[in-house]
């Protein structure tokens, strides 16, 4: 009997322990089930929030990108206006530099050698005959062109465009304009105010001198003169730009 009671005691103790364990297990299981649902819904809520945050940030990014695009577009517009301005400037410069064909109103002065006068002088007075008095010299062309240069916008001699580095020289018996030989009659085409040019020409001492020597000079004032582009090049071998910031 003694042994049985002690055994029963052990059994009872273990039974109490198992009972407590059972209740704990049931409680924890319920709790864990609740927690699991909680945690899973928490997880889903968190996921939704994360996705919403992500969407928000993406939307912000879209807005930022849009504003960037707008900025770039305005920048592009600005640069386009700059480019068009530059192009305008460039075309103006081309115009000034003589790289384009031009037309406009102006004056055409045609100079020729005084062949008749020369022959007459040869016949009548051969001893004093000097042929250079009856031909057109480089200086004639140069002085006339220079005398009118302040009011002429574009100049060509025998369709050779004169630009700021052009020269008119005498090479032996011919005249060279821009290293191209020209022959009489010399046709000086000038675009500008025709009347002003005409008056300036008549006031020019060289013109008076030529008239004095009976050189055949013809002056026309057509509405439309065409002057070809300068076919030569500008030398910039020794040129250097002064840096802008130093200049300022």
């Amino acid at each position: 009997m003694q042994k049985i009671t002690s055994n029963t005691l052990v059994m009872t103790i273990i039974a109490v322990a198992v009972g407590i364990l059972v209740v704990f297990a049931i409680y924890s299981n319920k709790a864990s089930v609740g927690q699991q649902t909680d945690s899973s819904s928490d997880y889903l809520i968190k996921q939704i929030k994360d996705l919403e945050d992500e969407a928000d940030s993406l939307e912000k990014q879209i807005i930022a990108t849009r504003s960037q695009i707008e900025e770039l577009q305005t920048e592009q517009k600005n640069s386009q206006t700059i480019i068009s301005k530059d192009e305008e400037k460039l075309s103006n410069l081309n115009l000034m530099a003589g790289f384009t064909d031009l037309n406009g109103p102006g004056i055409i002065i045609t100079l020729d050698d005084n062949i008749e006068g020369a022959e007459l002088a040869k016949k009548t007075n051969p001893s004093t005959y000097q042929p250079e008095n009856f031909i057109v010299h480089d200086k004639d062309l140069l002085y006339i062109v220079k005398a009118l240069s302040n009011i002429s916008e574009a100049v060509a001699i025998n369709d050779i465009r004169l630009v700021n580095n052009s020269h008119i020289r005498c090479v032996g018996t011919v005249i060279m304009v821009n290293s191209t030989r020209v022959a009489p009659p010399y046709e000086i085409k000038i675009i500008g105010n025709a009347d002003e040019l005409e008056t300036a020409l008549y006031e020019c001492s060289r013109y008076k001198y030529l008239v004095q020597y009976d050189m055949p000079i013809k002056v026309e004032k057509p509405e439309d003169i065409t002057i070809p582009a300068y076919s030569g090049a500008y030398s910039s071998k020794y040129l250097q730009l002064v840096p802008q910031d130093k200049n300022n």
Binding site: G19, I20, V22, V23, A25, S28
Partner: protein
């Protein structure tokens, strides 16, 4: 033999009055420990019926089985295998075995007593006659 059942009821009452939810991660191990405990109790009962009861075996079995079951479940968690199912199945089978053994033992004892009673009654009758 009714004392352990009272003990179980007392334990349940104690548990209800003191129980607090444990963290979810321990719930699984606790369930397995419960199974081990139930198995131990039923095993003890069965051993008592069969006359082979030893308190040392019962106690050691209770603690070690519960511990090993919990360990197995933990290992299963680590490995990503539902190893606790093995413990659940084993303990379940053992519980069923124990219960059937207990049932058989109880019924046999009952029948034996009845038989003895009948014999006693007949012997008494015989003596009376």
């Amino acid at each position: 033999m009714w004392l352990p059942i009272f003990g179980l009821i007392i334990g349940i009452i104690l548990g209800i009055s003191f129980a607090f939810p444990l963290p979810a991660i321990y719930a699984e191990y606790l369930s397995i420990a419960v199974l081990a405990g139930l198995d131990s109790i039923l095993g003890g009962w069965r051993a008592g019926l069969e006359g082979k009861f030893k308190s040392e075996i019962l106690l050691s079995g209770f603690f070690i089985n519960a511990a090993i079951a919990a360990l197995l479940a933990y290992l299963g968690d680590l490995l990503g295998l539902d190893l606790y199912l093995a413990a659940v199945i084993v303990f379940g089978l053992r519980i069923f075995n124990n219960i059937s053994s207990i049932r058989r033992g109880l019924i046999e004892r009952y029948l034996h007593r009845k038989k003895q009673q009948a014999i006693a009654e007949t012997s008494v009758k015989d003596q009376q006659e």
